[in-house]
Symmetry: C2
Subunit: 297 residues, 2 copies
């Protein structure tokens, strides 16, 4: 399950609640496209901004509408207590796996993070993907810690942050991590602009934001990588460079993806929880131009 394309949809919401019909439409689109898994309630799905009850509801809607495609549910929370509750709800909903980031308010120690994964993995009956995202968690995993956590029961994948845009250095980075983890634990790349390099460098999966909106585009890149067609992988990623430029300019993928979804009518406006905002004014116009340029509908 933690191989190939894992597509991460938005969870469209406003101050009244989750826009369930819009979310279901996004999930059904991913299932119909044949993605390898659907990663709901990731950072793109704004898991951190929803209550345990809202997250349980989103998990249920996901599995019900995924048409048999494996659903991976984000269970991260500041408190271990809430992580365990989210894990239980995800399993009850029929999730095929869970995704766990060491979310922090107070900076966490290695020991605290290890204990978090040990406690949660003991409680699970489905596989877990370790979500390494220092940009939002402010926790930096050492490879040594990844190695220890990867030995825990149920741990089956690591979602790593972007690799550098240099295939040799990226290969070394993936190989270094690979040497420290059991063979059944996969490595997945995140940060869409790094996907081509990451997959070519030996990552088993792409945890993809743009795949949550344009699964066919992301699948083409993923399948080319799986076929070993590096030239095609690079061509497909280069074609999306105007999109990657937006990610760089606007501090990551979330606000860009949310703005694309809004301007193309996939979700209603606003789709992000306050205080977060999709891009406005001239920034929004730039996104519209890129959408037109790349013929993203």
């Amino acid at each position: 399950m933690f191989t190939g394309l894992s597509a991460f949809p938005l969870t469209p919401m406003n101050e009244q609640g989750v826009q369930e019909c819009e979310f279901i439409r996004l999930v059904k689109h991913l299932a119909a496209a044949g993605v390898d898994s659907i990663g709901v309630l990731g950072s793109t799905g704004n898991y951190a901004y929803l209550s345990v009850e809202e997250r349980a509801r989103v998990a249920n809607l996901s599995v019900e509408n995924a048409g048999g495609v494996p659903v991976v549910v984000g269970i991260g929370a500041l408190r271990t207590r809430d992580v365990l509750a989210n894990a239980e709800c995800a399993q009850q909903a029929g999730a095929s796996g869970v995704l766990l980031a060491p979310v922090s308010y107070q900076k966490l120690t290695d020991d605290e993070v290890y204990e978090l994964y040990a406690t949660v993995s003991r409680s699970l009956s489905v596989p877990l993907c370790v979500y390494d995202n220092p940009g939002t968690t402010h926790f930096d995993f050492s490879d040594e810690l990844h190695g220890r956590i990867a030995q825990l029961p149920q741990v089956r994948s690591i979602k790593i942050p972007p690799v550098v845009n240099d295939i040799e250095k990226a290969r070394e980075r993936v190989a270094r991590l690979r040497a420290l983890i059991p063979s059944e634990v996969t490595i997945g790349i995140s940060g869409d602009p790094a996907a081509a390099t990451g997959l070519s460098a030996g990552c088993d999966a792409w945890y993809s934001v743009i795949g949550g909106l344009y699964p066919h585009t992301a699948l083409a890149l993923t399948r080319a990588a799986q076929a070993g067609d590096t030239q095609q992988v690079n061509a497909l990623s280069s074609a999306l460079e105007p999109l990657w430029a937006l990610y760089r300019e606007y501090g990551g993928s979330l606000r860009v993806a949310a703005t694309i979804a809004e301007v193309t009518g996939k979700v209603s406006q606003p789709c992000l929880p306050q205080p977060l905002k999709a891009l406005q004014g001239d920034d929004c116009k730039r996104v519209e131009q890129v959408v037109a340029q790349l013929d993203l509908a």
Copy 2:
């Protein structure tokens, strides 16, 4: 209210819930010592780790047991929706003021943070203190943004991060901020090791962690600063240097304060929510030594 010593108690808790009797004892101790205000559910009070319902309960217990001392309640949350709910609960409980940090998972923009404060301040009938704590929120306020937010209704104080340990530079820093904010908005120092310099540099308040456990010690320093006795201020702070060394060594005040509270029997063990841990083993022994050395009971 946002002047003098504002003492920030821990909220002792374990996986079953808040240890209410222990919390009440901490609050009553602060009230009896005559602190100028009690800042509950600050970072020291682990506000980010509690539900809206738990926070409402803590706010109620605080006001009921503060013996008329003004209570300031932390209302920060990732979502504006939850901040507004926390604000309403704090006001219902009889809080004299609220404290709001721009908590983030996705990094916030200046515009998003301004809108957060604008929305919340419109809903308030009690004064608000802006909580500037980049170490936990990962948001860096510019002075220009502080100036704009300080014009909003109900904003009456800014809790600033530690000033540099150089009285002239600290004076310049406080003066620069003061020039941008209305005269009725106070500036309070946080980061206990910086309190002496901050107060001597013109801060109106000390938002104090150690004051939440040892209010008499923190009051002595505060009163000396208010009397303009810089020599005494520096002597009192220097005497606590072994404690400040622990803060530096263990990444801030929370785990040190929690460990002190545990080893002196002010709270039961554990008092922090998982995955957070108080200091263990040799680290805990070092804290015990400092407690003995400084005669902290």
